[in-house]
Symmetry: D2
Subunit: 359 residues, 4 copies
């Protein structure tokens, strides 16, 4: 289990990194919603490999084929299924280390969980490649939201030690969010981008990798999405975001900084802007009691450094139960943060669109 997320809409994600295909079924979309496949592809290209000089040498066109659910460019009410064929697979890269788990990967836990039967080539079902179908689902939801005036965008808050500015959480501009979507290295402070690139390139040169933080925001939300307790917007987003490999933490609004504030500082005063209730600050990140307040919804996610690195690493041979070392082969990125951005937006879009349909 684990590959189905079921709410008002539901996602079923399937495939392995070096299997025949990866894909997704999205059930519960209303009928009659136009699907712009060109716009979807633009969105998917932001996640696809090959966009940066440093990304994995694996060549995948990542073209999605829709098998069901769309008639004449519109949803027809039946489940939408899309698949992406894996073209450039090289399972042999993983053959000689089948029993030697790569540190930081799911190889070991999958081996134990599945009694040695797991497909571990390139991480199998645990691979970051499974975020491609997640982005198909999210990209479709994004289009639904855009038609409802809801806009989602993200920037890289940090890569390694290089930090960008953060959003001013009570004042996030749609135009800024949209322009971020067009940047290769989306940042608020333009000077941060080249330093981030340099950090990644240096890591690659050192046969190493770096992580980072992504800040993702949604504006234009109605008040009242989400539910108390286990179905708050935080719960929903978190239940999706940890499906993205490498995410180690998530925080909403002021997040961990809230722990260092006093109540008088953290509480966001309500005021009237024309007839609309707003808050002067937005430490609550657009969610109160699990429910959207109408203020920008805001989260940050921590991305660990890519575990696949070129250095020799210590491990164990699970077959022989003895110590071993390994050098990771296969093809990989020294930093997956830029490619993780559309994944964050996908997660945000799915959670919000689902909550809208529920309301």
């Amino acid at each position: 289990m684990g590959s189905i997320w079921k709410s008002r809409i539901s996602l079923t994600i399937f495939g392995q990194s070096h299997g025949q295909a990866v894909g997704v079924t999205l059930d519960g979309l209303p009928a009659g919603e136009p699907v712009d496949t060109a716009a979807l592809n633009v969105f998917l290209q932001r996640r696809a490999p090959g966009r940066f000089p440093w990304t994995t040498a694996r060549q995948e066109s990542d073209e999605s084929e829709f098998l069901s659910g769309i008639i004449n460019g519109k949803t027809c009410g039946a489940p939408v299924t899309a698949v992406i064929r894996n073209n450039n697979i090289r399972p042999a890269d993983y053959a000689d280390t089948k029993n030697i788990p790569r540190p930081g990967h799911a190889d070991y836990t999958a081996y134990v969980k599945h009694g040695g039967h797991a497909d571990i080539s390139g991480g199998g079902h645990f691979s970051g490649r499974l975020t491609a179908p997640l982005c198909i689902a999210g990209g479709l939801c994004l289009q639904m939201l855009q038609r409802r005036g809801i806009c989602i965008g993200s920037h890289i808050a940090s890569i390694g030690p290089v930090k960008d500015s953060l959003f001013d959480p009570a004042n996030i501009d749609k135009a800024v969010l949209n322009s971020l979507c067009e940047m290769d290295i989306p940042v608020l402070n333009p000077q941060a981008a080249p330093l981030m690139v340099q950090t990644i390139e240096q890591a690659k040169q050192d046969s190493d990798s770096v992580g980072g933080i992504i800040e993702c925001a949604a504006v234009g939300l109605p008040v009242g999405l989400g539910d108390p307790m286990f179905d708050g917007m935080e719960n929903r987003i978190a239940s999706l975001v940890f499906a993205i490999p490498a995410v180690k933490g998530i925080e909403f609004g002021a997040g961990f900084n809230a722990a260092f504030m006093r109540g008088s500082e953290h509480n966001d005063p309500f005021y009237l802007d024309e007839k609309t209730v707003k808050t002067r600050s937005n430490n609550h990140g657009g969610i109160l009691g699990g429910i959207t307040s109408g203020m920008p919804l805001l989260f940050r996610a921590a991305i660990k450094p890519t575990p696949s690195i070129g250095k020799i690493q210590e491990s164990v041979d699970l077959g022989k139960t003895e110590s071993a070392t390994l050098t990771v082969r296969g093809r990989h990125d020294p930093c997956i943060v830029p490619r993780a951005i559309p994944c964050m937006e996908a997660v945000m879009a799915i959670a919000i669109y689902d909550a809208i349909l529920e309301n």
Copy 2:
């Protein structure tokens, strides 16, 4: 919706802060498991009000009555339901500010969501009081885990600016975890406790409040709990932890710090300890690919400062659609971090026990 968490076991939580009762139904527990109500009460008392000089003046004995599911001190396979009567309710405290939402609370979003019909006395169903039934459920699961050699404990990583040491994540001792459960202000560094108390008392004196961070760990886990993607241990824990009001973020293992590490530093090398596969460090926090590795499972959660403070605050009158100010009445804590600790352990216990039953 929102008050049901359904997996192999399921929780249904009900009640409002100033209603007749709060309670929980826990379905899916195996039959024949002994229930130690005395031990459960000790656990519940760690969350109950009245343990500290600064906590809310509301007097609640928090005695739970079991309505079903337990026969002769053992589970019988039927759903376990427990209720806690609310004795010391004062809904009148909230009457004059019914239309003036308290900043930082769910009053406003609940008002809009429920069209003005929400029970907002003391936060209604959004109140921290609903963590009492959560702790009943978690306390029961803790007992099941203890019999399986799994131990859970937590300490306060920070309150306001005062920080405790952190766990050495690869070496967490059961005895230490158990001793933390007996401290009023559980810390690793004994010097931190009085400074934390002082910080809370100062906040109270200032009619203000403070937040903090809790670090929670589980040891003795088998390898292989949890599933990939949407049912990883992180997803499961996060889907529960955000049911606790005031949680603003969660991180596992190295968490947000992982974003600043290089892969060579963050990857945890595997080695053999006797015949057991372990990792030398534990930046992964006991979870790889959503699945437990057998190393200590570790998360930190950020708790915002209590939104109920004694100062005058800016708000709006939702009935008249005009600006307003309010002073929060009712009874409240200047810091809920110490009382939130058993809630974290409850969440950890539920998620782990559920995953064990699923395996």
Copy 3:
């Protein structure tokens, strides 16, 4: 597991026949819906014991106490929980046959499932008494439906060999449905009622029991409720109806008779009644492709004869693994069909109201 039904609304049912209480939590009701507790009690009395001379001698007032979710006579958006205390319990009646399962009951399967830890007094959690909380949930949903112009009613299609007329499925009158709700032995053909009573009394006199068939209909439905495949209205209703002990089968519209018809006879021709699309006949029972057609929704459920009978029966002693006989003590009905009627209406109401909220 098993005691939670989760859809747009959700039910959690708890309690055992001879435990402290039985009860239900109903989550997902919209806020602001009036709750008429007097009308609810009238509905519950139709299921309560003691209405007929032949019913169980167990005296239970079946008064429900609401613990949460209702403020000033209206739902407040929080989960609604109601409990019914068990007052007249006699677990001792079941002590000497603890290891000798009663034929036709769940004693044996519960014993094996729960390793001998099940509460088997009066059937424990498997008892028909658990339909009381089901009726609370259904009774609340009925009120919501009535305000939307939807009317539900049932009659006894047969008890033992005595048959009533059946509904004319394309022409079911609201007034008739309402009048059925007021009859002790609701039938369409008034001559059937005394014969049914006689059949039940004869069975009682013979220390035996009889079963029957209930036909339940809903009118005033919108077109478009329900979903294809696993969430059709048939699937939903069936997933609820088999929670009622003693139900052995369910059929919709022409049901099993459809198997003996030709397509030209079974197909219901569409026509226009003013501007409304209707069907001339209603063999489809108001559901096409899982989705309501606007025609009366109609099902019949088969109720087996009460397994508790006064005769000596053959069984086995599970403790000694040897043959045994038993005579069922405890108190029971020679026919539970009349008391099962509100349960059918409850199920119908829950399924329909849930589907309305989903749409």
Copy 4:
């Protein structure tokens, strides 16, 4: 929604009758289970069109391609996805009657539900063709059960007025079940088969159709599968069986006949066969309190006559809101009962295997 069935294992079914493909994702299968694709194809051929002279002229090879979840002939723990391409599609057959719903089909309800955007060609997502992926899922589960000594088989209890004998429910032989799987027209009484064929051929000649009843049994079950209330084996099977278009009713064990029995006749006495607890009769159909008793699990399902018939039928033009007539084109079977048999076995297998994994 509706196309996902989620329990310990889960099914996601997608596709439309005249779309690119139909398919299924099955999540939750244990890793390391061998998959015999040849045996699966034999099973699928029992459902495939073209096996009988009277079946639809639509030619589909129904070859399934596995996209994920199987490595070296074994499940690997990742979701199993299989697709069947639609080769012989003729959506044009349905163009001129797009607005004129076929009686007995989901055309009208789908039209209203999806605001005219539904894909109605050949029934779209509501088509019987969607039972092909259901059979892939069920066929896989059948293989798992066979390795555990559980055997499933079915026969045609009736087609039109022609009836077969019924199973002797307390004595069902594995060899008989297996031999039924090899018959084109599986019956217990060999004289029934030619009469059934004649009935179907006569219906075809009359441009009409006939329905029937299927009886399906499973033997070799452990005691203790299933749960009380909403997750009993009846609820689970019913929630799946009504996903098969044309099913109008389901009954377990004595079913509707139970309504005409007395308790003393219907109760199945327990006895010891060696050390095994059995019942002398099997009116309970292998399920007591929702839980398997170890006796044969038995259900019968009513299949309505194919709604697609060659006769002129009355309908309405939904675009013009006026009366209309239609003659159904497209290709169809005068009786789908024989092809529905593997669907029943699929449903039985999924429900049982799921319950086994849960236990």
